[in-house]
Symmetry: C2
Subunit: 300 residues, 2 copies
DNA sequence: TAGGTTATGGCACGGGGTGCCACTCGTAAA
DNA sequence: TTTACGAGTGGCACCCCGTGCCATAACCTA
């Protein structure tokens, strides 16, 4: 009953993409009563009404969160949530597509914001760095209210339905990034022949995986500490580990910080990486050094 | 109503993990009537009954697939599926946990098989290669019946519920691999300091992403061609691109087939990988060659 | 043949999600 | 001020997924 056109999943979420005054064009979740599309030409609804609507949505979300935490997710009915928020059951579904969505009220907005980050990326930035900035936006959404995020994490671990819903949510970011990288890997004429779309997909999933890892570690730690810094560190680790592939390593800044030649020896394999602006002699010297030693490589 | 212990999601799927006679211990999907757990000590149910049960399950799956294809997923009720299979509605839910699962009847079995692959991996194999063999098992599941997979792919693209269910399914493989790599990256004392669990997560997601990419491309092409070969090629590309990180490059088997020294030049970076049993002279010669040329690297 | 196990059919119930209609409220136009 | 319109809401009814419960039939073991 959703129409066969909704094949992209998030396509319907972007009615205007920066639709004028804040979230005027995206009033929560108006998926029902198909072909809603409030024209968005004349914002008849003044600030007062939209604020009111936003307030109701917020109260519903907090009521849902509270009830889920206290008496469990499955044991909580939508009627109870609506009653706790002082509205009718039907109104709940005018603000949230489903019961699960009430616990992730910000994913849609975040998706729009991430899309905006991707769209407004300057030409010179490496697409992978743009994607990293995009996923950082998601992390900020979690970090904005650590207590809620931690409690929500506890729930998502315990309730399969919530976990699956969250997996589906992050999958939307993944697809967003994959599409972006697909469209920007060929333009950035870095690599010569093998601009495999495979790499776009793998890179996007790697970035998302790094985000998930950092986020979950932070959540398990109770939401203490600077997540964003941890995420950036994770990006550095990835750049360091996979950096040779597809010319990641931060086109400008990080490349300058990195040494011209690096070598490492591990597991019966010796590896050397060097920027081509390093002198051949410098490179060869590093290789020889790696071939001589029998010790583990220089640590991170 | 599933109990707060089911935090892993797939933990409950492995009652015995290779439970004696085939699928005797895992008779489809007995999630209801909690604490079912058929003891698996004395297989009272003879081959006849389990075969019968398997036949019913198969008929239900085919009936569901047929109805979904013809009249759409949402327009098809469970009653209709059961009626088409000649059983009662209640019986349907004894074979499938949900309506969506009827279209992915093999994921549970495949998950068990993948787990078996991981468990029976020999000591010498690199964990990442083991994981690659594991995901190959998933690909084979799809490749076993191309027409069904293609049609199912069409449905999953159109129906959000099915897409989310599939995403959740592959996420289970992802988590399986992540756990495996987490437990095997430190044992294989390859890298010195930074055995970040981050890398385990990223590597697992990369492998899964490669699988997804190859699989979807194959499905979009109508299920024609040798997918498994394409997947292995994708693994090669990944090894080639990310190969420098965490010592992937196939410790034993492929190393023999691969040349002792490989070099490539791309994106302002020159990379050389060599087995330590290659003579230093051979290594240096390859490096010099890479430093001289300005052409793209030798293709796969 | 008797007793126990397993799969099934059928019923009823809770609950999520949706379509529909009437109502209210606030804003813009007459 | 009155009127018209549109957005949000409340309430009702409906469909259908998923599950607990019980009776029954089929099958294996003793």
């Amino acid at each position: 009953m959703r129409g066969p056109d909704d094949t992209t999943g998030w396509a319907g979420v972007f009615p205007g993409l920066a639709s004028g005054a804040g979230r005027a064009g995206v009033p929560g979740a108006p998926p029902a009563e198909m072909q809603y599309v409030p024209h968005m030409s004349q914002p008849r609804s003044t600030a007062r009404t939209t604020a009111q609507r936003h307030r109701v949505r917020q109260e519903l979300a907090t009521a849902a969160m509270h009830l889920f935490s206290t008496k469990g997710y499955e044991a909580t009915t939508v009627d109870e949530i609506a009653a706790a928020a002082g509205v009718a059951r039907r109104t709940f579904f005018r603000h949230f597509r489903s019961k699960e969505e009430a616990i992730f009220p910000d994913h849609d907005d975040t998706l729009v914001r991430v899309q905006a980050v991707l769209d407004s990326a300057e030409q010179g930035e490496h697409p992978l760095d743009t994607v990293c900035r995009g996923i950082t936006e998601v992390l900020r959404m979690y970090a904005e209210s650590p207590e809620v995020s931690v409690e929500r994490y506890r729930l998502t671990r315990e309730v399969p339905a919530l976990r699956e819903h969250e997996i589906a949510s992050v999958a939307r970011y993944d697809r967003l990034f994959t599409r972006y990288l697909l469209g920007h890997f060929d333009e950035a004429a870095h690599r010569a022949g093998d601009d495999d779309p495979l790499l776009a997909e793998v890179a996007a999933s790697a970035v998302v995986a790094a985000h998930n890892h950092v986020l979950r570690r932070w959540l398990r730690a109770g939401g203490k500490g600077d997540v964003e810094a941890q995420l950036n560190h994770a990006f550095d680790v990835i750049r360091e580990t996979f950096g040779t592939g597809m010319g990641v390593g931060r086109t400008e800044p990080a490349a300058k910080a990195a040494p011209a030649v690096r070598e490492s020896r591990a597991g019966g394999v010796v590896v050397a990486v060097a920027r081509t602006d390093a002198s051949p002699a410098e490179v060869l010297r590093a290789i020889e050094k790696a071939l001589e030693t029998d010790e583990p490589p220089t640590g991170a």
